[in-house]
């Protein structure tokens, strides 16, 4: 299949398999709302009865927020601490969930979508966890290699360049390089996981095969990534732009934007699913 066929295939497969996407959505939403609603509770308990809170309905109010944080900031600090622990737990759990998504769109197993999701998630969990740990370590190295020196070079570069424009160009260039590196790691990890599913190989062989596959079909992989990442960026961008235009200053708008927000999250999960479908189609095409 060429790139446009892969994109169409990925889109169709993802749309068909909306049930697994919803499973991932609900798990993710549960974790996010546990934290998000705590913010509501803390604010409600602290300043919920103040007339100042009404200002937050209409618009952002810096004074209300700053006075709140100054007096009640100690109540908010534990929430940030919770995030520190939730994130690593989420990372491991997402290996399980993404494994379910990927095995569902790989189409190798029988059974309903939900059954394929749970079976695949548990079947491939440890292989995918090893692959994830490998890429997390690579990401850490890549971050230290690129961003570390960039951050350290910012101040000295101001003495080297005639103006801060040079420093900004340097930073943007390094950020672009970093992003390209992360993109490559991401696509390599997807190709490797597909190889595990289709070839039932060891992790090390899957990594090698995935690297080869990525090199052979890099433009297809990149096209898939641009397409489905682009949809996500456009979705979030549209949300921000629309909100800027309409404001968010009434109960009706708050409700509508809540629906929009959650729809955007589901779209993002589905786009990930569609990308997995396209990537797996490339792997499957040779088998």
């Amino acid at each position: 299949m060429n790139a446009s066929e892969l994109i169409r295939y990925g889109f169709a497969t993802g749309v068909r398999q909306w049930r697994p996407a919803l499973i991932v959505y609900f798990v993710q939403a549960a974790m996010a709302f546990i934290l998000g609603m705590q913010i509501f509770e803390v604010m409600n308990a602290s300043i919920g009865q103040s007339l100042e809170v009404a200002k937050l309905l209409k618009d952002y109010d810096h004074t209300v927020w700053s006075d709140f944080l100054k007096v009640h900031g100690a109540s908010v600090t534990p929430l940030i601490g919770q995030l520190r622990w939730i994130l690593p737990v989420w990372l491991v759990f997402s290996v399980f969930l993404n494994g379910g998504l990927m095995s569902g769109v790989a189409g190798k197993q029988e059974g309903s979508e939900s059954m394929r999701f749970w079976l695949g998630a548990s079947r491939y969990f440890f292989s995918f966890l090893k692959i994830s740990v490998f890429f997390w370590v690579l990401l850490l190295f890549w971050t230290l290699l690129i961003l570390g020196p960039t951050v350290m070079a910012i101040m000295p570069s101001l003495q080297y360049f005639d103006s801060e424009r040079g420093m900004l160009l340097m930073v943007f260039g390094m950020l672009l390089l970093y992003a390209l590196g992360v993109l490559w790691l991401f696509l390599w990890s997807l190709a490797s996981r597909c190889d595990v599913i289709y070839n039932e190989t060891s992790v090390s062989r899957a990594l090698k095969n995935g690297w080869k596959k990525l090199f052979q079909h890099k433009w297809s992989y990149i096209a898939l990534c641009i397409a489905f990442t682009g949809i996500q960026v456009l979705t979030v961008g549209f949300y921000l732009g629309l909100k800027q235009w309409t404001g968010n200053g009434s109960l009706t708008l708050i409700f509508l934007y809540f629906i929009f927000q959650q729809s955007a999250v589901i779209i993002r999960i589905q786009c990930r699913q569609m990308l997995y479908a396209g990537v797996c189609a490339i792997s499957r095409a040779k088998h």
């Binding site: 919920g48 009865q49 007339l51 801060e164 927000q261 990930r272």
Partner: protein
């Protein structure tokens, strides 16, 4: 005439023309028909910059007129550059970082110093031998920022003495304000300058000439400056006052002559890459020196400055000088930015600064407003910095918020917005310990972290509170009267307090006037915290009267308590801080009616009771937000009908962005 003589004359004329390139005309007219100030001092400086060595060699003539009734037998002279001579100066001691950046290690030629090689007194001769350094404030023997010179011949009251100096200086690689960064120079407090000879609070005459500390700025007497600056031709130069002429020297360098009258200081800047933008505002020439990478931001600077000129003329008084020069340093020279000197200010910005971030505008307005309080009132910034920085911050807030809108004046970017007044108030109210000291004390008693919140923000917030309590028109009248009475006279804190008291006395309610005066006085001379809160509101139906009533049988009667009792409502207020100030309370009832009550604040708490009224729905202290000094506005009110839609909005938003974070972070999972 003989041919050889003709030839010599012609040659001489040609040389004369070749050697001098006279500017088509002066930049502006700096001469006042009548002196604005007492002109106690006069300076004529001839300085040449050696760019390769970053050094200045200069001769200087200082004229000093004894303003006192006693002879003056010594001079005290600021040598500010010596603050950067080594790490043991009073300015640098105790820290390795200035403005958040380390200044050490550095090579020998990157430190700064100023050496007076010779000083002569007209009619006396060489008095160099009597020079020595003094440290009147901290007795740090390593500090050389103040030089004392004993005079062989005292200066009699009213007499003008003339001193001729020869000096040399090394400009540091910029640590704070002055110095060089690559080929950018900022020359501020760069020459030997007299302290102020004045009468102290006890009526004793003497030199007010403090050492240079990190947390102090500058204080000098009014005078006339004639400054001849010789630099390489590559430099574009901006300076205080007007350039009267520039001439090309035989060695290819240019000498520029600047003149400025009735100012307390002279500063200048040089950079080969400055682009010059000029505008005229009434009779004031605005001269903006800006590096090419910031040129797109020039209209923002010019618009903000013109607005400030208009606003201050209307609300304070006219700007009398013919010019204002604005120096925008290149980013690597930003440590020289954000400062004020008479008729020259330094600002600072960043390439590509978005329109919704108005630090560019806020800075230029702040620094220009200093022309009034530092430049013309010229109070002692070392001892009473609040009289300058606090007032400037107050007007900066007024100007920026008037120009760019309430709630959005300073920042309006990606959904976040706030104005100058909000930020100023929060800088004070969010201090970790607002009781850590009073505002009205010398600068060297402040630390790096409490200087700005107390001197700038608390004073400005107090002025804003006064304005909101008495109204802007009366506030303007008070400030205009203060400015008109004290410009060019170095007012002290007590002088402003006197002007404030006089202005407030025009209020019809004298006890209210006394309260407002007390509020401001406490804000500057005491370290208190002002915080009022509504602690509780309640509504209930009391039981019907029951029991035995009357004194003795058979006159007493028994009521069984059937039927409904009175409706009872209450509002509990608390004064959580130690600052007592009367406050308004607005009570809103369920039928929409309201009642306004007053509390003196003397007690720590107060209960207002209401009988047979509708239910109280809400109660709010200071409903018009007049008292900006209140530490927490969120606790100023309680409502029994909260509108928590805003809290839901932010909870949903937090959850949404967490979901996005989870989704993004899991790309390698």
């Amino acid at each position: 005439m003989f041919p050889s003589m003709n030839g010599r004359i012609i040659s001489g004329l040609i040389a004369l023309v070749a050697l001098s390139v006279v500017h088509a005309g002066a930049q502006c007219d700096p001469f006042f028909p009548k002196a604005l100030s007492s002109r106690i001092t006069g300076y004529e400086i001839r300085a040449a910059l050696n760019d390769a060595q970053h050094q200045i060699e200069a001769t200087e003539v200082i004229r000093f007129t004894n303003p006192s009734t006693e002879p003056v037998s010594e001079l005290r002279i600021y040598l500010y550059l010596n603050a950067f001579k080594n790490s043991e100066s009073s300015f640098l001691k105790g820290t390795s970082q200035i403005f958040g950046q380390s200044y050490i290690p550095r090579k020998a030629e990157n430190w700064g110093w100023l050496e007076v090689e010779k000083i002569e007194q007209d009619g006396v001769g060489d008095i160099s031998a009597s020079r020595h350094f003094v440290q009147p404030d901290d007795h740090n023997p390593a500090d050389e920022s103040v030089m004392e010179v004993k005079l062989a011949k005292a200066i009699q009251p009213g007499e003008t003495a003339v001193f001729r100096l020869k000096w040399k200086s090394q400009m540091p690689e910029t640590i704070a304000r002055c110095g060089h960064s690559k080929d950018f120079y900022m020359f501020s407090h760069w020459f030997p300058q007299l302290g102020v000879y004045e009468e102290d609070l006890d009526g004793k005459w003497g030199w007010n000439c403090h050492q240079f500390f990190r947390s102090t700025e500058f204080f000098a007497d009014f005078g006339v400056y004639d400054v001849y600056l010789t630099t390489d031709a590559k430099f574009v130069v901006g300076a205080s006052g007007c350039m009267l002429s520039d001439s090309l020297q035989a060695d290819g360098r240019i000498t520029r002559h600047f003149h400025v009258e009735d100012v307390i200081d002279f500063a200048w800047s040089a950079y080969p890459h400055f682009m010059v933008q000029e505008e005229q505002w009434k009779n004031v020439k605005i001269r903006l020196l800006i590096p090419p990478e910031h040129l797109a931001l020039a209209p923002r600077y010019l618009h903000a400055l013109s607005y400030a000129l208009d606003y201050l003329e209307k609300h304070v008084g006219p700007y009398p000088y013919p010019v204002i020069t604005v120096v925008d340093p290149p980013f690597h020279g930003l440590r020289s930015g954000l400062m004020e000197y008479p008729t020259l200010i330094t600002v600072g910005t960043f390439y590509g600064m978005p329109d919704g971030l108005r630090m560019t505008e806020s800075l230029i307005v702040h620094e220009f407003t200093h022309q009034y309080f530092m430049g013309m009132l010229a109070s002692n910034e070392k001892e009473e910095a609040w009289l300058d920085e606090g007032f400037v911050t107050y007007f900066e807030d007024r100007i920026i918020d008037a120009a760019y809108g309430d709630k959005r004046g300073l920042v309006d970017f990606m959904g976040y917005h706030f104005d100058n007044r909000e930020l100023t108030r929060l800088e004070y109210t969010t201090m970790a310990n607002p009781r850590e000291g009073i505002t009205a004390r010398p600068g060297w008693f402040f630390s790096d972290h409490n200087y700005k919140p107390l001197i700038y923000s608390k004073t400005a917030t107090a002025l804003r509170s006064v304005q909101q309590l008495i109204g802007e028109p009366l506030m303007d009248r008070i400030l205009q009267q203060y400015f008109e009475s004290w410009k060019f006279k170095h007012p002290r804190g007590r002088d402003f307090m006197g002007a404030l008291k006089t202005g407030l006395a025009t209020l019809p309610d004298s006890s209210y006037a006394a309260q407002v005066y007390g509020l401001f006085e406490k804000s500057v001379y005491q370290a208190l915290v002002l915080d009022y809160a509504v602690a509780h509101i309640g509504n209930e139906i009391l039981p019907a009267p029951q029991g035995v009533f009357g004194v003795q049988k058979p006159d007493s009667s028994y009521l069984p308590g059937t039927g409904q009792g009175q409706h009872y409502a209450r509002v509990d207020l608390q004064r959580k801080g130690d600052w007592i100030f009367p406050v308004e309370l607005l009570v809103t009832f369920a039928d929409g009616s309201t009642r306004t009550l007053y509390w003196s604040g003397e007690e720590g708490s107060k209960v207002f009771e209401f009988y047979d009224t509708p239910d109280i729905v809400s109660a709010q202290v200071d409903p018009q937000y007049k008292i900006a000094l209140d530490a927490d506005w969120n606790n100023n009110s309680i409502t029994l009908k909260p509108e928590d839609g805003g809290l839901w909005k932010y909870a949903f938003k937090a959850a949404f962005w967490l979901q996005n974070l989870f989704q993004t972070l899991s790309i390698l999972s």
